[in-house]
């Protein structure tokens, strides 16, 4: 998913007018809507399961007596030296090319994927929000420099830089984290900067300033809460992008160095065995796909839940299950538009 696509989706949310109904905060409303979205709930469950499995990786390794790096050249390989299939000799998902337990390696791989996905997104979000607020609030030269910098970052062929760094310094986790973070903050920066530019002209900001609030207080206490919605959506959608990015880098041999069990590393090793060991490719691929799909679905769900117009769509459809949320809205003449912009990002 490209950065513009993400911004596009986030801009749909940011365009949504603020709605406050009977003292229920926007976050409470969002949560209520999210709870009724079956796909979003399912994706939260999948993400939680994946996280628990990743955390329990050492437990699985201990119970199976199969370490993540432990090669079982006897039981783990057939007499022809080919990996054994799922279920044979106590390997639930089979083995890899040197006879290591594929399940244990996939579970350890989940730790790396989730860690890279979440930590780079967090760093990129903090950097993007911070710089976006500063650029949007102070304007002038600061803004020009930061905005140009972001443009350059967005236009740069990312993979080429990753290749170059890996060639110079050798592949490592640190380079992966650095490259992904470096290319992720710019999208968040643009959204935050644009929003700050418009919010800072509002009367309540002027009021805060006339009461003696300093620029940092205004930025982080008065402006920031307005931007959390689009930032949250964008960040959720960045996690799967980062997970895929790490896997791709590792697959090309410029990400996490083997033998560390990253999903990209496993899939890269499996490349030469697809004719004889389907499980070697299919299971890590499935793990990757399920994880990214869950985060994408959750991001879409949060975006829809944050958009007050989603309710109207449900109402227009006469969906009975949505009636409870529909009650919250007064039935005005504009309550039933045929189609709205919130359809855009579906």
């Amino acid at each position: 998913m490209s950065v513009t696509e993400l911004e596009f989706q986030a801009s749909v949310v940011e365009a949504a007018p603020e709605q406050a109904i009977e003292g229920r905060s926007q976050w409470q409303l969002t949560w209520r809507r999210l709870r009724h979205d079956k796909m979003a709930v399912a994706s939260i469950v999948v993400i939680l399961i994946m996280t628990v499995l990743a955390l329990l990786a050492p437990v699985f390794a201990a119970v199976l007596h199969h370490g993540e790096y432990q090669a079982f050249t006897g039981a783990g390989l057939s007499s022809a030296g080919i990996p054994v299939g799922p279920g044979t000799h106590g390997f639930p998902l089979g083995t890899d090319y040197v006879g290591r337990d594929l399940l244990v390696r996939i579970l350890y791989g989940a730790r790396i994927s989730l860690f890279v996905g979440i930590s780079t997104t967090l760093m990129a979000t903090v950097a993007g929000v911070g710089m976006g607020l500063v650029a949007g609030y102070f304007g002038g030269h600061v803004d020009t420099v930061l905005a140009r910098f972001a443009d350059v970052v967005l236009a740069f062929p990312i993979l080429v830089l990753a290749l170059a760094l890996a060639a110079i310094y050798g592949p490592s986790l640190l380079i992966v984290l650095g490259v992904i973070t470096f290319f992720s903050w710019a999208g968040i920066f643009r959204i935050v900067r644009g929003q700050t530019l418009s919010v800072k002209e509002k009367e309540y900001i002027e009021a805060a300033r006339s009461l003696g609030a300093g620029p940092w207080r205004i930025m982080f206490i008065d402006i920031l809460p307005n931007l959390l919605g689009p930032v949250l959506v964008l960040a959720t959608l960045y996690i799967p992008t980062a997970v895929v990015f790490e896997a791709t880098l590792s697959f090309l041999g410029i990400g996490i160095p083997a033998p560390t069990p990253s999903w990209g590393v496993i899939l890269s090793e499996a490349q030469n065995y697809y004719q004889v060991a389907w499980w070697y490719v299919v299971f890590p691929a499935l793990a990757l796909l399920i994880t990214t799909l869950a985060f994408n679905l959750l991001g879409d769900g949060i975006r829809d839940a944050m958009d007050p117009r989603t309710e109207r769509l449900f109402a227009a459809r006469g969906n009975r299950r949505q009636r409870r949320t529909r009650k919250a809205r007064p039935a005005g003449p504009d309550a039933l538009p045929p189609l709205t912009v919130s359809e855009l990002g579906e």
Binding site: S2, T4, A247, Q271
Partner: protein, 321 residues
């Protein structure tokens, strides 16, 4: 007149961009220690004298600015330099690789534009129908699928079983067009699908959203109330305006595409620009890397000029300037 001025200005900017990219790449790679290249060339057991001789012959002993000046001078004369390893002109390597990479890129682009726009238009005109729901799920799956995983899965699920059953049209590797259209397509079809899938999902989503948005505009209502046929309203009035964000996305994606080519060539064993540049980076073959980066940037610059011109043709509100 306006078009000529636009073209001249864009070409001049393009040259500046190419210069910046070439310079940045040159200096980025120059931080690699020079003797690592020489050591690989001369062999592990080479004496320091031999290594110094190799460094001298490649011109790597000269000050960096002299080397840089030499490099720029050569480019102006149409010489992209020679591979460190076998002395082959970089131009020859590019000429060999370009048809392969172009086959992958152009075919995939046609595929994803056709699929993306078609599905997007059909979903937009039948919003919330079963077709729309199915396509929405498909879009999400496409967006979540890493390119290399799709490539691997296609090899396992399509290439291997088909070839085991004697159906050998679909192949990996490359067959030049001169061997005929059918074999060429057989080699290209899996790379095309792999590269196009993610992008088709992006374009479906984009064109669907854009068209739904456009069809809500007042002038569409006017067109309908004039009694114009629905088909004409959608395709003549709606689509034209709805295509503008799609076209500008295309300009951005051309850069992204280069990364995708790298992965696809790796998975399907195509020795095009992508695979050879990975190899060149691995071995520190600076002239080859620089040549490839320049060709890639040239491609991006030219494509963006075309996209911007197309943008102005599609949307009368945009003026070429």
């Amino acid at each position: 007149m306006a078009l000529t001025r636009f073209l001249i200005r864009r070409i001049l900017t393009g040259i500046v961009v190419l210069w910046v990219v070439a310079t940045a790449t040159f200096f980025l790679f120059f931080f690699r220690p020079v003797d690592s290249v020489a050591r690989q060339l001369a062999g592990r057991a080479a004496s320091p004298q031999v290594i110094n001789e190799v460094i001298r012959r490649l011109g790597l002993d000269q000050p960096i600015l002299v080397q840089y000046w030499h490099f720029l001078g050569n480019i102006v004369h149409g010489n992209l330099g020679y591979s460190y390893y076998n002395g082959e002109p970089v131009k020859t390597i590019i000429a060999q690789d370009l048809p392969i990479t172009a086959s992958v890129v152009v075919g995939a682009m046609v595929l994803w534009l056709v699929v993306g726009l078609l599905v997007g238009i059909l979903s937009a005109t039948r919003a919330r129908s079963t077709f729309d729901r199915v396509s929405t799920v498909g879009v999400l799956a496409g967006l979540s699928m890493p390119t290399f995983v799709l490539g691997e899965l296609l090899i396992i699920a399509v290439f291997v079983p088909l070839n085991q059953h004697g159906f050998s049209w679909i192949q990996t590797g490359y067959a030049p067009l001169s061997e005929g259209l059918i074999p060429w397509m057989g080699h290209m079809i899996l790379p095309w699908i792999t590269l196009a899938a993610v992008q088709a999902a992006v374009y479906t989503r984009l064109s669907r959203g854009s068209l739904i948005d456009t069809l809500g505009e007042d002038y569409i209502r006017t067109a309908r109330s004039k009694g114009m046929s629905e088909r004409r309203v959608v395709y003549r009035h709606g689509l034209r305006a709805a295509l503008t964000p799609v076209v500008s996305q295309l300009g951005i994606d051309i850069g992204v595409l280069l990364g995708g080519v790298l992965v696809v060539e790796q998975v399907f064993g195509l020795s095009g620009l992508g695979q050879d540049s990975v190899q060149a980076i691995d071995t520190g073959n600076l002239p080859v890397i620089l040549g490839f980066v320049l060709v890639a940037s040239l491609f991006v610059v030219v494509a963006n000029i075309i996209v911007d011109a197309a943008y102005a043709l599609l949307d009368p509100r945009v003026r070429i300037s």
